[in-house]
């Protein structure tokens, strides 16, 4: 082997191999996340939510689902705070806002931990039921305004919660 003559060629060859390996691996986890998100009802929301969490880089499907479940929790907490704000500015809506606080509290204190436990335990169906309940609770909050003859002041907020919960649910279903 004429080392002196071929060593620049060898370097180039090695670099080429390295670049290909790097290229493929960089594409691999993005491709994985994108393919998962394509199977949820809101591709853009899914992608945005997952990629905002650095853990998404190395996460398997369970890990990705847990990321979205965590985002559901964060959104739930923000929603509860939003409702608190509304209670000050809209005392006329107090009864329904109290109800909405109750149901969002349930979503955060019961549904989300249930989903996390179920996913870690390898019994994802209970997690699916938990996240499905988040959707029901936010829908119930929304429709209760109408039942009291009032216009909902938080339609977008409730819808956002529902959309995110549906993404989480779709991911959990992939684990079944």
């Amino acid at each position: 082997m004429a080392m002196k003559m071929s060593s620049p060629l060898t370097i180039v060859f090695l670099v080429f191999i390295l670049q290909q390996i790097l290229f493929f691996s960089a594409m691999a986890d993005e491709k994985f996340i994108k393919s998962i998100c394509k199977s949820t009802p809101s591709y853009d929301l899914c992608l945005k939510t997952v990629l905002a969490d650095p853990k998404s880089k190395d996460a398997d499907l369970t890990g990705l689902a847990l990321i979205v479940v965590d985002a559901v929790k964060v959104k739930g907490i923000n929603t509860i705070n939003y409702i608190k704000g509304l209670e000050n500015s809209r005392p006329d809506l107090k009864t329904v806002l109290d109800y909405c606080t109750d149901v969002y509290n349930t979503s955060m204190t019961v549904d989300v931990p249930l989903a996390v436990t179920a996913l870690s335990q390898g019994n994802p169906k209970f997690g699916e039921d938990g996240i499905a309940d988040v959707t029901v609770e936010s829908q119930a909050c929304e429709s209760t305004f109408g039942q009291y003859g009032q216009a909902s002041p938080m339609t977008n907020v409730n819808q956002d919660m529902e959309d995110l919960a549906n993404v989480a649910r779709a991911m959990i279903r992939m684990l079944l």
Partner: protein
């Protein structure tokens, strides 16, 4: 491969590190030869004219080649480490790839997320009830009423699958998945209760807790086997401290205690761990064992490979060491994970049940599995080859998971046992809540068991089983009211004045008018209980049946009905449905419609039986050919407000009904 700008940035960014490394290594490689021969670099002239050591290729080449390989290997490893441990990459411009219309990335049985109106309707809940009036919040009156009078349920908190049902030393035992801390699933233990009659229960202490590493995350579902000498053994799934699903052996601490209060876990547990090729989270719910021709014991455990539901088979002589058979008992592609598999013989001629080990020419075998994907229990009838450990369905188009269901409503994780005292096969099932978690938390409990049912092969059709509430339930009947030959004209409703209509047993026969049927032209518009408009959608020959848990004026009511459709060929198809769309004015409860076609043979009258027990309604058509279990959560139809109506919402035919209604006493549950 499409390579966008960001991807290029990504890999150029990442590749600079290895390039640096590469250059470094290359330097090392070239300088290593200097180290080997320090004098070569100086090229000091040698007295005898020898070439400097660095120029001797025969000695250096193998070493350099080896070094080259080692360094390359190291480089690749360093590369892999780099990729794995790389920091966050900026992805702000990641919308460059446009998503095509949503498709699933793996081929699988597609279960739509939402039915009906897509916006604002999820599968858990529900069809929004227009014009609902104020019914919030749930009062404790409303929630208290939901507790049942004669369905098994613990005093509080969460229950799911029935476990290890067995008749032992004069007592029926029921164990069950129990979460003692909250009305929601969690770290599960085995609850325990005993009964003399399957109806009145005595609650006992927890049978098994999560006290070992191999069931630390949950004492999950399992089954009991009674050995010929009367010994009782239990195999159950444990979720280990690392969430691996394993099978464990347990047995009574004192076999002479008929109440089986204390249990011992075999010190050598686990006796089974996930075999190669099976995921650590896809291995659960071992069955009751049955005898093989070789005299060994055989069990089956459900699992999946990708999206194919499968049933693994193990043989054992002592329940401590097992041999995995090469083949599967059965598998069906596209059905997903098989939970709570059940396998049992049914007699082709006789009306009694059979011990799980019975086999022979007069016997068919049933394979049942709970489908994780769609939360329903499916079964199929077929032939078991004991020598091969394989089972084949009689009708592959109605195979496990794609054919018949035990029940077309809420019914999951069911399990049978052979009751040797009455020679019957008895079916238990978990009936979950279909209200919100918030309500479950408020009322402090969640889930029921269905009324236990006997299972036999339908001798007339030979292609389905028949389920019927155990006859002991009839002992709760009281105050019978009989209605004979009531004629209900098309489009009319008849109130049946039955008090205490929250606890009822209704048995009825219906006849539609033959002349009307004959003069009708059929049509080929299909009917589907789930997708059509429920009891409010009128056809020529249906719907007709009962409205249970109804208010005066039907503000809330739950119709259970037949819908007969005449095809263009003149043949009749009969559907049996339960409609929850108007079951409650609350807007956070499930308002789906359940049901299925029911086979009606020539000469048979249409018959149905309905057990009403507060928030659960169990409906049976044609003596148990088609069954529907519903959960109902009314806000007004509670306490003494519940009514019963007979209705005929067909447009053409009149209906003649003969009915027996009993009020049901409460059991000790």
């Amino acid at each position: 491969m499409h390579m966008n700008l960001l991807d290029m940035n990504t890999f150029f960014f990442r590749s600079t590190f290895p390039l640096i490394l590469l250059t470094l290594f290359h330097n090392i490689m070239t300088s290593s030869s200097d180290l080997e021969n320090p004098l070569a670099a100086s090229y000091a002239p040698l007295p005898d004219g020898e070439l400097p050591a660095g120029n001797n290729p025969t000695i250096r080449r193998p070493r350099k080649a080896a070094l080259f390989l080692v360094v390359s290997a190291f480089l690749v490893l360093a590369l892999v480490a780099l990729i794995a441990g790389n920091g966050p990459v900026l992805r702000k411009e990641l919308n460059t790839e446009v998503a095509p219309p949503s498709t699933t990335s793996t081929p699988e049985k597609v279960t739509p997320l939402s039915r009906g109106v897509e916006k604002g309707v999820s599968e858990k809940s529900f069809r929004p009830l227009l014009g609902a009036d104020n019914s919030y919040p749930w009062s404790s009156n409303m929630l208290d009423w939901q507790r049942t009078a004669f369905h098994f349920q613990p005093k509080k908190n969460w229950m799911n699958d029935p476990n290890g049902p067995v008749f032992y030393k004069g007592w029926y035992h029921l164990f069950y998945q129990y979460h003692p801390d909250a009305p929601v699933w969690g770290k599960i233990v085995w609850g325990h209760a005993v009964s003399k009659d399957l109806i009145n229960w005595r609650h006992l202490p927890i049978a098994m807790e999560t006290d070992q590493w191999y069931d630390e995350q949950g004492v999950w579902t399992g089954s009991a086997t009674i050995l010929p000498d009367g010994q009782l053994v239990v195999l159950y799934t444990g979720s280990t401290n690392e969430s691996v699903q394993v099978q464990n052996l347990a047995y009574p601490a004192d076999p002479s205690d008929p109440l089986l209060i204390k249990w011992v876990k075999y010190p050598g547990n686990p006796v089974l761990v996930p075999p190669p090729g099976i995921d650590t989270k896809d291995f659960r719910d071992p069955t009751t064992a049955w005898k093989t021709p070789e005299g060994k014991w055989r069990i089956t455990i459900g699992s999946k490979i990708n999206k194919t539901g499968i049933s693994l088979v193990y043989d054992t002589e002592d329940f401590k060491t097992f041999e995995l058979l090469d083949g599967l008992l059965h598998a069906v592609p596209g059905t997903g994970m098989w939970e709570c598999v059940d396998f049992y013989p049914v007699s082709k001629q006789n009306e009694n049940g059979l011990d799980t080990s019975v086999d022979g020419p007069g016997v068919k075998h049933v394979v049942k599995a709970s489908m994780d994907d769609d939360r329903n229990d499916y079964y199929a009838i077929g032939t078991y080859d004991a020598h091969k450990g394989k089972w084949t369905p009689d009708n592959p188009t109605l195979d496990v998971g794609i054919g018949l269901r035990y029940d077309y409503g809420i019914y999951y994780a069911s399990k049978t046992f052979y009751d040797q005292s009455k020679q019957r096969r008895v079916l238990w099932s978990w009936i979950k809540e279909t209200d919100t978690e918030a309500s479950d938390i408020n009322k402090g409990w969640a889930s029921l068991m269905g009324v236990p049912r006997t299972i036999v092969l339908d001798k007339k059709t030979q292609s389905n089983i028949i389920q019927w509430p155990v006859e002991e339930i009839n002992r709760l009947r009281t105050n019978m009211t009989v209605f004979k030959n009531i004629v209900v004209e098309a489009g009319s409703i008849v109130p049946l004045s039955i008090p205490a209509a929250s606890q009822l047993d209704i048995v009825a026969e219906f006849e539609i008018d033959e002349k009307t049927v004959n003069r009708l032209n059929g049509d080929d518009v299909g009917y589907d209980c789930v997708k059509n408009g429920g009891a409010a959608e009128r056809g020529a020959l249906g719907p007709f049946g009962f409205s249970v848990l109804a208010t005066e004026g039907l503000k809330e009511h739950t119709p259970v009905y037949f819908y007969v459709a005449k095809g263009v060929d003149g043949n009749l198809q009969t559907f049996f449905c339960a409609d929850q769309a108007r079951s409650s004015t609350a807007n956070d409860v499930d308002k789906s419609i359940y049901g299925s076609i029911v086979p009606v043979l020539k000469g048979e009258k249409l018959s149905m039986r309905i057990l009403v027990d507060h928030s659960i309604v169990e409906s049976f058509a044609q003596e148990g050919r088609t069954c529907i279990t519903s959960r109902v959560y009314p806000t007004k139809t509670i306490n003494n407000n519940a009514r019963l109506f007979l209705f005929n919402n067909a447009t053409a035919t009149k209906v003649t009904a003969s009915i027996n209604v009993w009020q049901m006493n409460s059991a000790h549950i």
